[in-house]
Symmetry: D2
Subunit: 340 residues, 4 copies
C-alpha cells in the first residue's frame, strides 16, 4: 500500500540541460518541437530564431503555449549544443552558408536540403530515419531528418528491402493531413476548399521518392523496382495514412513475414506491427508508427500510419537528438495520443 514517504518527489536538480536552438521558429514543425522540448527533462531551449518576429513572445505565435513558456523570438542563436533547422526547402543550405556554426554544435535539419545531398563543408548529414540508421545517428554531428511521406513509406518497406524482397512494381497511395502543407494559407488549405474534400497532387512525381529509393536500396534492395506513388490531400490536419502493396512470391509465409517485421523493429520503441486493421487516429499526436500487413491475390499489402508532424517531422527530430546525445531514445516522446 501507498504511503507518501515511499514516494518522495525528485528534488529539482540545478540543471542547465542540453542547450537547444530552433531556427525558423514560427512554422508548424518549430511549434511541435517547442511543444515537445518544453517538457523534455534534459533540454533547455536557448533560442528560438525568427528574423520576422524578433521580440515577440513565442506564445503569441504558438498560442496553445500560453502559460507554458515566457520565451521570445530572437535573432541570436547563442551557443547551443544542437540546432534544429525548421526552414523552407533550400533555406537550410543558405542558413549554413550565412552563419558560421562551429562543428561542435550538432545540427538536425528538418528540411530536405541534405537528405539526398548529404555533404556540406566539413559536415556529412546522416539520413535520420532512426529505425534504419540508429547507430550512425548516435555518432553523427549532422542529421537530415526524413520527410513525412517518406518516413511512413520507408517504415512500411524496410524489412522487405532488408531481404531484397522488393522485386516488382510497388504501388503506393498515401494521404496526408493539411499541416503537411505548412502554415501559409493557400487555396488548397483554405477550409472552405479542404473540408470534406479529397484530391491528388504530384502523382508519380513527389519529391520524397528519391530519399525513399536511396534508403531502400542501401537497406539491401539494390535493384529496386519502380515506386508508383500517388499522394493525396486529406481533409484532416494531422497524420499520414499510407497503403502500399507489391507482388509477393510466397517465398516466406504470412507469419514469417509478420515475424520479420516484428523482429526488424523489435528494438525500435515507436514502431509496432498491429495484428488487426489500423486507423489513422491510433497514432495522431504520438511519435509512433503502426504497420499492418495482409496478403491478397498474390500481393503483400502494408498499411502504415504516423503523425506527419511528429514521427514524420519534429518527433523524429527529437528522437534523433536523443540518439545523438546518448539519451534514452524515447525521452520526452512518450506523448499522450489524442485518440479522437
Amino acid at each position: 500500500m501507498y504511503t507518501k514517504e515511499q514516494h518522495p518527489q525528485p528534488a529539482k536538480a540545478p540543471f542547465r540541460g542540453l542547450g537547444i536552438s530552433i531556427v525558423g521558429g514560427t512554422g508548424y514543425t518549430a511549434g511541435e518541437l517547442l511543444r515537445i522540448l518544453l517538457n523534455h527533462p534534459q533540454v533547455e531551449i536557448e533560442s528560438v530564431i525568427s528574423t520576422t518576429s524578433v521580440g515577440m513572445p513565442i506564445a503569441e505565435m504558438h498560442r496553445d503555449l500560453l502559460g507554458e513558456t515566457d520565451l521570445k523570438f530572437s535573432d541570436k542563436i547563442g551557443n547551443p549544443d544542437v540546432i534544429f533547422l525548421c526552414l523552407g526547402h533550400g533555406l537550410s543550405r543558405t542558413f549554413l552558408e550565412e552563419n558560421d556554426i562551429p562543428k561542435s554544435c550538432k545540427i538536425i535539419d528538418l528540411g530536405n536540403d541534405f537528405r539526398n545531398n548529404p555533404v556540406f563543408a566539413e559536415r556529412e548529414f546522416v539520413f535520420g530515419l532512426c529505425e534504419f540508421n540508429r547507430e550512425k545517428i548516435r555518432t553523427a554531428d549532422s542529421v537530415a531528418n526524413p520527410g513525412c511521406f517518406s518516413s511512413s513509406i520507408m517504415l512500411a518497406l524496410l524489412p522487405l528491402a532488408s531481404l531484397n524482397k522488393l522485386t516488382d512494381d510497388i504501388h503506393i497511395h498515401a494521404i496526408t493531413g493539411s499541416t503537411g502543407a505548412g502554415k501559409k494559407p493557400v487555396e488548397t488549405t483554405h477550409f472552405s476548399y479542404r473540408d470534406n474534400n479529397i484530391s491528388v497532387y504530384k502523382p508519380f512525381t513527389h519529391q520524397h521518392l528519391e530519399e525513399i529509393e536511396n534508403t531502400l536500396k542501401s537497406a539491401g534492395n539494390a535493384a529496386l523496382p519502380q515506386l508508383n506513388f500517388v499522394p493525396m490531400r486529406g481533409d484532416f490536419t494531422r497524420g499520414i495514412f499510407a497503403s502500399v502493396y507489391t507482388k509477393w512470391d510466397n517465398s516466406m509465409s504470412a507469419s514469417e513475414v509478420i515475424d520479420l517485421y516484428k523482429n526488424y523493429y523489435k528494438d525500435s520503441p515507436f514502431v509496432f506491427v498491429s495484428d488487426t486493421s489500423i486507423s489513422l487516429k491510433e497514432v495522431v499526436n504520438t511519435n509512433k508508427c503502426l504497420l499492418h500487413i495482409e496478403f491478397h491475390n498474390g500481393y503483400i499489402h502494408i498499411t502504415s500510419i504516423l503523425d506527419n508532424l511528429l514521427k514524420g517531422a519534429s518527433g523524429q527530430a527529437v528522437q534523433n537528438m536523443n540518439l545523438m546525445f546518448g539519451l534514452e531514445e524515447t525521452m520526452g516522446l512518450k506523448l499522450k495520443g489524442s485518440a479522437f
Copy 2:
C-alpha cells in the same frame, strides 16, 4: 430588354405524373430519391413504404424535407408506374418473392441482388450504368442500379475497356464518404471515431469487384487483367474519389486517349473529362462524374469522382427512370452542387 409580358409563367398542368413508389423509405438512398423526385416535373410520389414507420410524416424522418412534403410512410404500395427498391442487400429478392408486382410496373433496384444475377421470375434486370447500357435501359422493365464504388471505377475504365486496352494489373484506391455505410450508427461511423480519421476496409475483396469485372468484360475487354482495389473510409459524408492506374503501352498518344474518353461520353450528360486536376467537392450534391487523365512512368492514371448517393445511387436511379420512361435523361437532375 425584358418585359413581364414576354415571360409568362407556365400554367400548372392538371397533371398526375408518373406514379412512384419507394420501398425502404427511411434509409439514405430513399431520402435522396425523395429530395430529387419532389422537384422532378414529371413524377408524383404515390407511396413511400416503411414497415417500421407507417403513418409517420416523411419529414419527421428526413427532417430537411420539412415544408416540402406532407407525405407519410405507408405499407400500401398502390399502383405505381415504377418502384424503387431501397432495401438492404438480399432484401430486394425477398420483397419480390413476397409481393406480387405486375410485370407492367417497372422496378429499379438500388441494392445488389440483381446486378450479377439478373433474372428473377419473368424479369431480367438490366445493369443500370446509363453510360454503358443506355439503349437497353430505355426498353427495360427492371434495372439493377450499380454500386457507388463500382460506378466511379467503371466510368474511369470503360473507354479503355471498349478498345480492349486493359492488359495489365489495374490498381485502384478509392475513398468513400460515410453515407456509403448507411444510416445505422456503428463504430466506424461514430463521429468520435471517424472525424479526422482514415482507414482501409475489405482490401482486394470488396463485393463491387464482380460487377466491375462483368461490365468491363462485356464492354470489350474479355480478357480482363486483375483488379486490385483498396477501398478506404474517408472522414467526409458524401462522395467517392477513385484513383486508378494501369500500365500503358503508348499505342495511343495522350491526346488520343483524352479524345477517346471525351468521345465515349459525348452523349452522356453527366460525365465530363477535366483537363486539370479534380477535387471531390466539384461533384458533391450533383449527379455528375468527373474524370481526369494523366500519364506517368508508363502508366495511365485516371481519377474519377462522383457523389456516392447521387451518381452512385439515387441520382443514377432517377437517370435510369428517365431513360426507362422516355423522359429527358437529365430531368430533375440538374442539381445545384454544394461546391463547399
Copy 3:
C-alpha cells in the same frame, strides 16, 4: 397508369430570358448565383464581370461548373435587365459611381453599402428581406440584399417585433460557416486552424447589428431593447445557426406564439416553423430558413438556421429578383438540400 402520351415534355420556347449580369464574378456569392441561375428557367446570363480574370472560362474558377457552362469572365456588362453586385464592402458604391447604369436596369447589391444608407443618386435601395419587404421589393428597381447573420436573426425575431413584443435585452449567439469569410485564404480560414476549432469574433459589435435593429424597429418594435450578439466561427463550410432568446411576459401562450410565427410566414415559401428541434444541415444547400421555438425560465428561445450563401446571400438575391420581375418567388430555388 402512365403512358408516354400522357406526359409530353414541354417544347423548348424560343426564349431569350431575363438578361443577367454578375459583377465581381470570382467570389463565393457570385459562384452561388451562377449555380442557381444556370438552372433558372427564366434567365439568361449575359455577362459575368471580373476585372482580374477577363477571358477565363468561368468553370476554371468555379470548377464544379465544368460541363454546365461555356461562359467566360468579361469586363463588358452589356445591356442586362438586372445586375447582381458581388463586391467587397464599399465597392458597390464605387462601382455605381464609376459606371453609368441606366435606371431601367435593376440592381441587387449583395454587399452592405446600401442596407443602412439606401439612397444613391436617383436610386433608393429597398432592404431585400423578402419576408419583411415583399411588396416593396416587387416594385423596387434597387435592392440591398441583407447579410447572412442578420437574415437568420431577423427571421427569428420579426413576428415578435411585429407585435412590439421585444421588451427586454435580446441574447444572441450565432455560429457561421467558413464561406461567410470569403474566398481569400487567411489565418482563421486555414484548414489547419479551423478544422475542429471554435472561436468568437467581434462580440457585441458585429456590423450586422445596425440592419437588424433598423428592421425590427420598422417592423413595429420602435423602442427596441439592446441586442447582445456574440458571433462565432464554426468548423463547417455552410450555414448559420442562431440561438436567440429574450424575456417573455406570457402575454401570449406558447401555442399562440407558435401560431403567430406560422401565420407571419404563411405566405413565405422558404420559412418554416419546426415543432421539433432543428439541426443546421436541415437547410444546407437550400434557400430555406427553419425556426424552432421553446419557452423556458421566463424566456422565449428561438433557434434559426439557414445557409449563409443561399438564404443568407445568393439564394435570397434570386428570390428578390423573382419578386422584382413578377416571377414565381420560388423559381429556380427549389434546391435539393445536401442533408448530410
Copy 4:
C-alpha cells in the same frame, strides 16, 4: 556546453507506485485515464475493470495504446490505493453498494452521482474542482469529479462569484465535442449527421446547472442570479467552448477584473487568462483551461475553453489524485497539446 557526464539519466527506482484501479474501463474517460496514467511517473495500474471484456487486452479496445501496455481487462479490483469510477450516471452508487471498498482506498468518481449528493455511507465526496476546493481535496478520501460543461463555466465565473459580483442573469452558450456524448453510437453522434452540423440540446435545463449553482453560491455568491445555459453539439471531437456574459456594474475597472482573475488562479497551474481572443484548439489534448475577458455594452463577457475529456474529466481526475496523495499537482499532466 553539454557533456554527457553532466546529464546522467535518473536510474530507474525499484518503485511499485501508487496502485490504481479503473472501473468501467472500456469508455472514453477510462481510455483517457489510461493514456495519462501509463506515463505518470508515480503510479502503477493494478486493474482495469470491465465486466463485459474480461481478459481482453486493453490495447484491443483502446487501440491507440498498442505498444504501450500489455494490461488486460479484469473483474478483480485488487487492493489499489485509489479507484477511478468511469461509469454511467447512477452506476457509481450501485458499484459502491455492491462492492465493499475499504475506507482506506480513495475514490474518484467521474460520474455525477455524488456531485450534488456527496454522502455515501461513511464517505463524503468533496467536489473535485481543484481550483476551488484544492485544500479540501488534499485531505479527501472521496472526490466527485465535476462535469465538463460545468468545469468550463465555473472556472469562467468563480473569481466574480468569490466577490459576490454576480448580480444579474447570466447568459451562457457552450458548445461541446462529440466525445462528451460517450462511446455508444447513436443518431446524434453518427458521422453522417454530425459532420458539419450544429444543434442545441436541453436548452436551459442541462443537468450540470445544479453543480454550477452550488459551487458559485458556496464560493461567495449566495444570492445567485438565474443561469441561462444553452448547450450545443459541435462538429468536433474534443473540447468545450463556453461564452458567458452578465451585466457589469463597473464597480471594478477592466484591468482590475483581469487582475482579479489572474490573482484568483495564480496558484492554479492549469488555468490561464489570455489577453487576446482564444480558440478551442489552444487547449485540446491538454489539461489547461484558458479564459479571455472583454467588456461591452455594460456586460462582462468571458470565454472559457478546455478539453472535455481532460480538464473536463480524466485530466482533472488525475489532478485530483495528485492532490489527494501529496504529489505535484501537474504530475503526469504536462501534456503536449495537439494544437491542430
